[in-house]
């Protein structure tokens, strides 16, 4: 019995979500309290398992008893290895803080509390499903469910057209990725004969390279969708329509990192041999393209959340690039530090937005540094970690990725360095405009720090953002088996990243000064415009693929269906039959005499037949 305790990781949030939704519609506080308790419970459970207080392997639950030759039953089992459990710590830890922060953030919207918290709980459930899954089928279940909870939470304010559209876009874009992912899962089953992570690694040598490449790349499609990699990155910036705590939890720290987690999980269980050269090149390439494009787009965004969203995209690109360079430990390390500091940045942004009366445009803020000191300090901690100032967590993880890149393929190293410079630049721009100078709009004039429920999570996250890169924390908590953090190492990567840092900061200060400007000096030209328009990729999808290919295609097919299949074939056949009927109807002229004549002739004919053709009768 006691060994089945880990099932609580799944059951607790699921039950809470159901209870919140069905019974606590009218009681906002109860719903919130229950969800927070469940997050606290799973966090506690996670700590208990990490510290070894609880141990044991939970039973496997047979979900579809379909065991046949060559195919085990589809089962739900929990894989509690260090990779999973430490990832659980990130998920439940940040989840708990976001739950608490939400109390303050959603204060003005209590009527929908039960829906919101039920959504958060169902997200915790589905994310746990992905992390603890012991086979790919279960991962896929979690994969779809996080997509659903993300749909639910992005569309929390579904009366707003933009929020409803963004939710739909996120779900459908993810489905496109899942299309490939599902093919990958089925191929894995066909090729390896199992879906279970623990049995996958055997017999890789016997499989042709082309098959392995196809399998891994199909599985990677799932990561492209979920981790918002180019060319399916378009949903993530739009997902910022959701409440900010949701963005922090789902669209920065955990769900979008699930793609990275899944790829690392596959690398560990299939063995690095399964990741063929072509597959690695494609994966790293996609990561690098995403990192560069997203960083460029971030440079000219005015919405505080969108800057952070593009920064998330770009950092995810980093991680995927590390996966492609077969540096799983670097990817997971960066995932882990990024989760803390990006959640911190988003929650900080959330605190600012709520205090500026839901204003998200950075050009309408300004001078917040004096009025919101706690938030500012925390936000700056997160920024320092993101731009990799030595001593902050992001520095260590980024360094590890750059090391790996330099070792495996220097091209990606230089790409990474360029992205680092861009990152520094846009984050410095964001901080200067938001916190320095004076308020540019009425909302920002009277902003002040949030209450306890908002400041406490920020402070805790800020602590993590600073210390989580150091060996004494990272060695225990980084979600990778046998990980050891490096200290400072002087070398080419260090110098290059310092150079990138300095260049980025200098440029930002030169261009934006001390935040006195009220307008972006870089704006107005073609490059700025196209960066703001997200390099026209969204427009191309909207107008080109959805507008022309899909809509016109669907209409054409619909027309063909009704014109050719229904019109020509079905109604044509009916028309033809009718015509034949008309032709034959002259026989039935209504004249009794004609009828009797025909009957007479018929009788004579029959007699003739009987008498002469079958004389034997």
């Amino acid at each position: 019995m006691i060994q089945n305790l880990p099932w609580l990781f799944l059951l607790l949030p699921l039950a809470v979500a159901a209870i919140d939704w069905l019974f606590f519609k009218k009681c906002a506080c109860c719903a919130a309290a229950l969800s927070i308790l469940s997050a606290l419970g799973t966090f506690g459970l996670c700590i208990a398992y990490l510290t070894g207080l609880c141990t044991g392997t939970p039973d496997v639950y047979t979900w579809m008893p379909i065991a046949t030759e060559g195919m085990p039953s589809l089962s739900l089992g929990l894989l509690m290895d260090p990779l999973a459990m430490r990832m659980m710590l990130v998920v439940t830890g940040i989840g708990l803080l976001v739950h608490i922060f939400s109390l303050g953030y959603m204060k003005g919207d209590t009527s929908n509390h039960s829906r919101y918290f039920a959504g958060l709980s169902i997200f915790m459930f589905s994310m746990t499903m992905i992390v603890l899954a012991d086979n790919l089928a279960m991962t896929f279940i979690g994969w779809e469910m996080v997509g659903f909870s993300s749909y639910l939470l992005i569309g929390h304010w579904f009366n707003k057209e933009s929020a409803a559209d963004a939710a739909k876009k996120a779900f459908i874009t993810n489905r496109v990725g899942d299309f490939g992912f599902l093919i990958g899962i089925l191929l894995t089953m066909g090729v390896f004969g199992t879906l279970s992570f623990s049995e996958m690694g055997t017999g890789t040598e016997a499989i042709p390279t082309a098959v392995l490449t196809a399998t891994v790349l199909c599985l990677f499609c799932g990561a492209i969708g979920k981790s918002a990699q180019f060319p399916l990155h378009v949903w993530l910036p739009d997902a910022m329509e959701g409440p900010t705590p949701v963005s922090a939890l789902i669209h920065a720290a955990t769900m979008v990192a699930a793609g990275v987690y899944m790829m690392v999980r596959l690398q560990v269980s299939m063995g690095e041999g399964a990741f063929t050269e072509t597959a690695c090149l494609v994966i790293a390439g996609v990561g690098a393209i995403t990192a560069v494009l997203a960083a460029l787009m971030a440079v000219q965004q005015d919405d505080i959340k969108r800057v952070l969203a593009y920064s998330t995209l770009s950092q995810l690109g980093y991680m995927i690039m590390a996966v492609g360079l077969l540096a799983g430990e670097a990817a997971m390390f960066h995932l882990y530090t990024h989760a803390w500091f990006k959640a911190l940045l988003f929650l900080g942004a959330g605190a600012i937005i709520v205090r500026c009366h839901h204003e998200q445009d950075i050009w309408k803020m300004g001078g917040l540094g004096n009025r919101m000191p706690i938030t500012t300090v925390c936000f700056l901690m997160g920024t320092f970690a993101l731009i990799a100032i030595p001593g902050f967590s992001g520095f260590f993880s980024k360094e590890l990725i750059l090391d790996a890149a330099l070792e495996k393929c220097p091209f990606f190293f230089w790409v990474g360095a360029g992205v680092a410079a861009l990152t520094t630049f846009y984050m410095a721009r964001l901080c200067i405009i938001t916190f320095c100078g004076s308020a540019r709009a009425h909302g920002a004039e009277h902003a002040k720090d949030g209450g306890f429920t908002m400041s406490m999570p920020l402070l805790l996250l800020a602590v993590m953002a600073v210390i989580s890169g150091f060996g004494f924390v990272a060695d225990y908590l980084v979600p990778f088996e046998g990980f050891h953090a490096h200290g400072f190492e002087l070398g080419l990567p260090f110098y290059v990243s310092m150079g990138a840092l300095v260049v980025g900061l200098l440029l930002a200060f030169v261009i934006y000064g001390c935040g006195k400007r009220s307008k972006d000096p870089l704006s107005g030209n073609f490059i700025s415009k196209s960066l703001r328009e997200r390099l026209y990729i969204d427009k191309f999808y909207d107008k080109g693929i959805i507008g022309i290919l899909q809509e016109c295609g669907a209409r054409t097919i619909e027309f063909a269906d009704s014109a050719i299949i229904r019109g020509l074939f079905a109604q044509g056949a009916a028309w033809f039959t009718g015509k034949i009927g008309m032709l034959l109807s002259w026989i039935q002229g209504g004249s009794l005499r004609a009828y009797s004549l025909i009957i007479g002739i018929g009788v004579i004919f029959v007699i003739f037949l009987l008498a002469y053709t079958f004389p034997s009768l």
Binding site: S585, Q588, G589, G590, S591, L592, R593, S596, L597, G600
Partner: protein
């Protein structure tokens, strides 16, 4: 004894007259009477066969029973047929067969 052929010729003539009447006449009552005539023709040949097939002066009664059966059915048919004709006359004010072609359309 009259030979069988004479009966059959009579029967054939009656049948042909009846058939011609059915095919040619428009008036349904006449058509109806012609039908009856054809039945009578059949009856005549039945009875004739009954005699001719008989042995030692005993006719084959099957044929005579059949003839009686035909008469009985014909009577019933006449009753229904005339009733239909009367009903038709009420509805259409006519007993011409050309007047009842509305099913054609």
């Amino acid at each position: 004894m009259t030979p069988l052929a004479h009966y059959l010729i009579l029967s054939g003539i009656l049948f042909s007259i009846g058939l011609a009447g059915v095919l040619i006449r428009k008036n349904i009552i006449v058509v109806f009477m012609c039908l009856e005539m054809m039945l009578s023709a059949a009856n005549i040949s039945l009875v004739a066969f009954s005699r001719a097939q008989g042995t030692e002066g005993v006719p084959v009664y099957d044929a005579q029973v059949l003839a009686l059966f035909v008469v009985a059915i014909a009577a019933a048919e006449v009753a229904i047929g005339l009733a239909l004709i009367v009903a038709m006359f009420r509805a259409r004010k006519s007993v011409e067969s050309t007047a009842i072609t509305s099913l054609k359309d």
